[in-house]
């Protein structure tokens, strides 16, 4: 029998690449003319594979893309703008999607990706330890958080217990960027061509973070917390900022007796706007410009990003749906830990959309480590970091200037 179906090549990564295959038979039944060939790629190799694929003219039709990678592929002019597809589909913009997440897919007012699942960070905390310290609910502001830290630390000390109220890992960029976003998010300046980390907003965020280490509210160095779940169960740490995947981990790894003792909450806020902003991370679906089957590719993306498929995908993988309407499904409502994520997703602020961003935050991590150990002052650290960021963005600056000078 001759197969005259159109084949679209779909690259999907890691766990998602494995699980998305369960959704495809339904798509192929509904669209007999289209065959989806999925290639599963490990996350650790995904970025290299995509770039070499682009260099070698071998990009797929559809691909999932971490939304912080979109600026890079937009610079390469590798992605198909999706604005007109969305309009033709009768939706003006993407009103059902969390708006902070959609913004991560829009570069210079061009839409390049449709959010597939979202990932944001919330506060996980020990209800019992906070209660013991006299707090009946999680902190709503960082000022409140400081007071809690103080009380918890003093009480633990008086009883001779080693306890850290919060765990802000020095080898993660997430806590410091969250605080930066909450302080106003002016990470870069001059059209994202220079570092502005020594500006007053980020300095405020960074000083706050380093004070948490200085006052020993959070452990510095990584050797103390060898196993996060044990440390959380033992009460060595009481609060931790992390993502949705840890709901499952906490359920499995924290002893049954303590299962009622932990909860999730939206992030505290640096000002009075509750909740405090978090990050709109996640993964989008994109069409590559070189694709020869764009309309079929779009049909496939519409299928995967429809409400029902998002719910199905959540049930298989636990990945959070970016469509607000999907959250009314019973499977999401039944999960008490999900409430915090839904509330948090109402307030997620976008990050600078430049290809160098990932490099910048990975470098920032090492400066957090330096400041946490107190080897340098905050001002010294941030000025030095700005100089390094300026070096990283030198090429970008040159290109922007060329555009200005150009015809």
């Amino acid at each position: 029998m001759r197969d005259d179906r159109v084949t679209i090549r779909f690259w999907a990564f890691g766990n998602e690449g494995e699980n998305v295959q369960a959704l495809i038979p339904e798509f192929e039944r509904d669209n007999p003319g289209i065959h989806v060939m999925t290639q599963q790629i490990p996350w650790t190799a995904a970025h290299e594979k995509l770039l070499t694929g682009f260099a070698g003219d071998a990009t797929p039709d559809v691909c999932q893309l971490g939304n912080t990678w979109i600026p890079e592929f937009a610079v390469l002019n590798a992605l198909e703008p999706l604005g007109t597809y969305v309009t033709i589909a009768g939706e003006s913009g993407l009103p059902d999607f969390f708006s902070g997440v959609v913004k991560m897919n829009v570069i210079d007012s061009t839409l390049y990706g449709i959010p597939w699942y979202v990932d944001t960070r919330v506060l996980y905390y020990r209800k019992d330890i906070l209660g013991d310290a006299g707090f009946s609910r999680p902190p709503r502001t960082w000022a409140e958080m400081l007071r809690m830290c103080q009380v918890i630390k003093t009480r633990a000390k008086s009883r001779g217990i080693l306890r850290y109220p919060i765990f802000l890992p020095t080898n993660e960029w997430v806590p410091v960027i969250i605080l930066g976003v909450q302080a106003g998010g002016h990470f870069l300046k001059d059209g994202n061509t220079r570092g502005n980390f020594s500006g007053k907003e980020f300095t405020r965020a960074f000083s706050f973070l380093t004070s948490m280490y200085r006052d020993e509210y959070s452990p510095t160095g990584m050797s103390l917390i060898t196993n996060l779940y044990n440390s959380f169960a033992d009460g060595l740490i009481c609060m931790y900022i992390t993502g949705p995947w840890n709901i499952g981990e906490f359920r499995h790894r924290i002893p049954p007796a303590l299962q009622d003792a932990w909860m999730t909450a939206p992030l505290p806020s640096l000002d009075d706007q509750i909740p405090g902003a978090s990050l709109p991370l996640g993964t989008s679906l994109v069409i590559f410009r070189a694709s020869k089957h764009k309309s079929e590719a779009w049909t496939f993306i519409r299928f995967l990003t429809a409400r029902q498929q998002m719910v199905n995908f959540y049930r298989i993988t636990g990945n959070l749906p970016p469509r607000q309407s999907a959250w009314t499904d019973s499977s999401l409502r039944a999960n008490v830990y999900m409430r915090a994520f839904y509330d948090q997703l109402q307030r997620v602020d976008p990050l600078p959309l430049i290809p160098e961003w990932e490099q910048v935050v990975i470098r920032l991590q090492q400066y957090v480590e330096l400041a946490a150990t107190g080897t340098k002052t905050v001002d010294e650290t941030l000025h030095e970091f700005d100089r390094e960021v300026d070096r990283m963005l030198e090429k970008r600056r040159w290109i922007v200037e060329q555009h200005r000078a150009g015809p």
Binding site: T44, H47, E48, L51, T52, F54, A55, E72, V75, L76, N77, N171, M222, S223, T226, P355, Q359, K395, R396, W398, I399
Partner: protein, 299 residues
């Protein structure tokens, strides 16, 4: 009149004709990429250049200066030298030791052992890495289990910055010693038995025989093995790539890993190329030193 053959034997033209296929292949797959990479190392070829070639600039020596100025580069240099200076001699010593045992007159099932010891060399590193990750597992690992009999408390081999490189060295030595062992065995078999007979008649014991017969007779083999091992070990990549991704805290980040990260993760191809040529320089110097020492030892 005598007929002159068109080509006299010994004519270089014939020789060139014979090696032409190899030369063409080497030219296309070695010389051209090396020259291209060398030229690239003087440009700022990056992600923007991949998008449009108008965004490539000639930057002279800037990539090289940037590398020499970067703490991460020096960290990679330190890690790489650690690996070469500890792992290299260890690897050669283990290869020689096992070769002596396998080649011993007392040993039985020689070819069986040779095969067993050679197996790691031909096994895919990725498969090996999965097994070794279990061996190094802090809780369920075989190594910690064995050490616990000696009262050693569990070590987080791949998670502790001080232990990760020793763990990588152990894996690399285990994986690679079989190859050098075979060459040593070949070298050992070339030593004539009458030399040992003569030494025994002169009253030399096993240790003296080893020092005064085996070691000098093996010298050319040893030089070859040391040079090859050092060159290979300087290019440490696959072991940390599959085991630790260069971590924890960059403690297993080798020069080639740094180059790979810069080139394929951040697509700073110009910078990555300059690291490649710095590594080439280091290897060149080390090989030259070894050959120089060897020549002086012979005089």
């Amino acid at each position: 009149m005598t007929l002159r053959p068109r080509y006299r034997s010994g004519s270089p033209a014939v020789a060139y004709l014979f090696i032409a296929p190899a030369l063409v292949a080497i030219g296309i797959f070695f010389v051209v990429p090396i020259v291209a990479a060398f030229m690239m190392s003087f440009t700022d070829f990056d992600i923007y250049a991949l998008g449009s070639l108008t965004f490539v600039r000639f930057v002279a020596l800037e990539n090289y200066l940037r590398a020499l100025d970067a703490p991460l580069f020096w960290q990679a240099i330190r890690n790489t030298f650690y690996f070469v200076l500890v792992g290299g001699p260890l690897s050669v010593a283990v290869s020689l030791g096992i070769a002596l045992m396998v080649n011993s007159r007392l040993a039985r099932f020689k070819s069986f052992f040779r095969t067993i010891y050679f197996l790691p060399v031909v096994t895919s590193l990725v498969a090996v890495a999965i097994v070794w990750r279990y061996v190094y597992h802090p809780r369920a690992g075989l190594l910690n289990y064995v050490l616990s009999f000696f009262g050693v408390s569990p070590v987080d081999w791949l998670g502790n910055p001080d232990m990760a490189m020793p763990a990588i060295i152990l894996l690399a030595v285990w994986k690679n010693f079989g190859y050098n062992m075979l060459i040593f065995i070949a070298g050992l078999q070339n030593i004539q038995d009458d030399l040992y007979d003569a030494a025994r008649i002169d009253g030399a014991g096993v240790w003296k025989q080893f020092l005064n017969v085996t070691v000098p007779m093996l010298a050319p083999t040893t030089v070859f093995i040391v040079v090859i091992t050092v060159i290979g070990y300087f290019q440490l990549f696959a072991e940390p790539y599959v085991m630790t991704q260069g971590g924890p805290l960059n403690s297993t980040l080798s020069l080639v890993m740094l180059m790979y990260e810069q080139g394929f993760r951040w697509w700073s191809m110009g910078y990555a190329a300059s690291i490649a040529f710095l590594l080439f320089l280091i290897i060149l110097v080390f090989t030259a030193i070894q050959i120089f020492l060897r020549r002086r030892a012979l005089v």
